[in-house]
């Protein structure tokens, strides 16, 4: 029963490769490596942008344009990252954005905002988003409806409700201070971008540095194991969807500021865009593995792609084709790179 020190050394020696190789492998597999591919894809895109229209692409305003465009869908994608990491999916994000934006811009809410403070609009949007997320979560966790179907139902219902509330009219935001604040800039950077940065940072901390994040991985990776390990799986699942709903509420506020409207047509196909960004960022669609940094890169890649296209005046349909081809090439490249660095 006594452990001879020499034995221990020997076995360490034999089963573990030289420490340098190991450290490199560890580093690469834990993030920098996987993200390296994404960074590269983004860098290549930027090089293409500079090469084809350098005079405008590499300017400050254009970078801000890209970031502003990325901000809204970015916030939605952060919420989606949590849901997918936790083993679910949320198809209703776009509809929740629409409903939140509509509800926060009804005459009644705007009257409150005018009389008191725009905080009423913001909190309405957050409440509506959170409430929709709560319904999603309850249906999935306690009703045991598969996430795909439950959130598909929410998609239909929330968009329908948004249309009924708005009577299918675009509702204009009258509150100047709201638009000025959220549509404005702080130290040269648009408020929207600040919000995105804050949400992403908070998301990263929560996912990687808190018990909540750790539980999210556990629930998504192996629900049964998580349950037997003493995690309140159902409650946690509800929390994840509420979080996604809140992110949609924030996105609605951002969209309201950006478009100065609330509308039932806001957020169309956000579900696809957000899932695509999350998945291309490296989060596993089957749950248990997720990365906020990857998601941010995913969003930036798609937004930059759009920007480069617009700058280059590709024909309408050719843009579509090129988009498909570029996505494939980017992913292939990223994988090849990740494999090479890992195996070396």
């Amino acid at each position: 029963m006594s452990e001879a020190p020499s034995d221990t050394t020997a076995s360490t020696q034999a089963t573990v490769a030289p420490p340098t190789a190991q450290r490199a492998g560890g580093l690469l597999s834990t993030g920098a490596g996987r993200n390296l591919g994404l960074v590269l894809a983004l860098v290549v895109l930027c090089i293409v942008g500079v090469a084809t229209s350098g005079d405008t692409f590499a300017t400050g305003p254009n970078v801000l344009t890209i970031l502003r465009a990325a901000a809204t869908i970015g916030v939605v994608s952060i919420g989606m990252t949590f849901v997918i990491t936790g083993g679910g999916i949320d198809l209703s994000v776009g509809a929740m954005v629409a409903l939140s934006s509509v509800w926060a811009t009804t005459l009644a809410t705007q009257q409150l905002a005018t009389d008191y403070h725009w905080i009423f609009m913001v909190s309405t949007a957050l409440l509506v988003g959170g409430a929709c997320g709560l319904v999603n979560g309850l249906l999935i966790a306690y009703g045991k409806i598969v996430p795909f179907i439950a959130t598909l139902a929410m998609l239909a219902a929330a968009r329908g409700l948004a249309e009924i509330i708005s009577d299918r009219r675009t509702q204009i935001v009258n509150n100047r201070s709201f638009v000025d604040l959220f549509g404005g800039s702080l130290i040269g950077v648009p408020t929207l971008v600040w919000i995105f940065v804050l949400v992403a940072a908070a998301g990263w901390v929560v996912l990687n540095r808190t018990t909540f994040g750790r539980r999210t991985f556990a629930v998504g990776g192996n629900t049964e194991a998580a349950r037997l390990a003493g995690i309140k799986v159902q409650r946690h699942t509800v929390a994840l969807y509420v979080l996604a709903g809140l992110c949609c509420g924030i996105a609605a506020v951002m969209l309201m500021a950006r478009t100065t409207t609330g509308s039932s047509t806001h957020g169309q196909l956000y579900e696809l865009d957000a899932i695509a960004a999350v998945v291309i960022g490296g989060t596993l669609l089957s749950g248990g593995r997720g990365t906020i940094v990857g998601t941010v890169f995913g969003v930036l890649i798609f937004t930059t792609l759009n920007n480069v296209f617009t700058l280059n005046n590709l024909s309408f349909s050719a843009q579509s084709v090129a988009k498909g081809v570029i996505i494939v090439i980017a992913v292939l490249l990223q994988q090849r790179l990740a494999r090479r660095t890992t195996s070396s």
């Binding site: 465009a69 869908i73 675009t170 204009i172 759009n306």
Partner: protein
């Protein structure tokens, strides 16, 4: 009969067509997910090609105001001279259009109106309400003796304001002659959705006297569904005015007796106006030296009698 703004030779005949200062125009429109929108983009691009002094930048069609806003921002960054903007949602693009105007860029608003006059130098509008009125008036004229007639409506995307306007115009015009819409479905401006919704509609209403279909592209599907049902007791009024439908009207054998034009040349006109504005030219046939603030296109009813006049400018859906 000279109300037709879309007659191509009329305006371009003057000296306005002579090449002038280079004009860089950005164009952004919703996704070409239906025929009319596809035609708009095509006509716009074709128009721009006609002018050696116009350089056209076309952004990818999108139904996401967020993305369309960033496209306009990109145009601003590129320092274009003018932007022809067919917004997915007028009010949602107002802020960024205003920003473009403030940056000294001439914004021409097409089809879906901004909610601020400062957001565009000039606006070209189809007449959605008028379209409904024209269709309703035509239906009334055909059914004036039968007060208990059953009128059905196949609308387009119901969540768009323009659909609401069309339906309102139709309802108001019908009310004038004591009719009302008995059955209404909303399709999605596509052939496929037209067929699907029309098939259901035909089941819902066993007897119909007239159908107004908002969009001729989805109308192809509507007519396919009607053919499948073997029903012939009604007539159909189209909308938008595609070449296909006009040919049908001309042939006289189709159930489509009329269509209401919603010009698909609005974007093309936008290009022309933007060019004139940047080059500081006047609108040819007007005495006024400035391009007008707003041009609303007319929504005429095309029937067998006047179809030849409109067929040349009709869009091939």
């Amino acid at each position: 009969e000279n109300n037709n703004n879309a007659a191509p030779q009329g305006v371009s005949a003057g000296k306005n067509d002579e090449p002038g200062k280079k004009v860089k125009i950005g164009f952004s429109a919703p996704a070409a997910d239906h025929g009319w929108m596809g035609a708009i983009t095509k006509a716009t691009q074709a128009e721009a090609k006609k002018y050696s002094d116009v350089e056209l930048l076309v952004a990818e069609g999108t139904n996401d105001p967020n993305q369309q806003i960033s496209q306009v921002e990109t145009f601003i960054n590129q320092k274009v001279d003018a932007i022809v903007l067919l917004p997915f949602d007028g009010p949602a693009l107002t802020a960024v259009a205003t920003k473009a105007m403030e940056a000294g860029i001439t914004v021409v608003n097409v089809d879906r109106e901004f909610n601020s006059p400062a957001a565009a130098r000039t606006t070209i509008l189809g007449d959605n309400y008028g379209m409904g009125v024209s269709a309703g008036t035509y239906v009334c004229s055909q059914l004036k003796d039968k007060k208990d007639s059953i009128v059905a409506e196949i609308a387009g995307i119901d969540s768009l304001g323009l659909t609401q306007d069309r339906s309102k115009g139709f309802k108001d015009a019908l009310a004038d002659c004591g009719l009302k819409v008995s059955n209404r479905v909303a399709a999605a401006f596509t052939v496929e959705s037209g067929e699907k919704e029309a098939a259901n509609l035909l089941q819902a209403a066993p007897k119909i006297d007239a159908i107004w279909n908002h969009d001729d592209d989805q109308g192809v599907g509507v007519m396919a569904a009607i053919k499948n049902s073997n029903r012939k007791e009604f007539f159909v009024v189209g909308g938008a005015g595609s070449a296909n439908v006009m040919r049908d009207i001309k042939s006289g054998t189709s159930l489509v007796k009329a269509t209401v034009i919603y010009p698909s040349t609005q974007g093309a006109d936008g290009i022309r106006l933007a060019r004139l504005l940047v080059q500081k030219k006047a609108l040819g046939d007007l005495v006024e030296v400035e391009v007008p603030r707003e041009i609303q296109l007319y929504a005429p009813v095309v029937t067998k009698d006047n179809v030849d006049q409109y067929l040349p400018t009709a869009f091939e859906s």
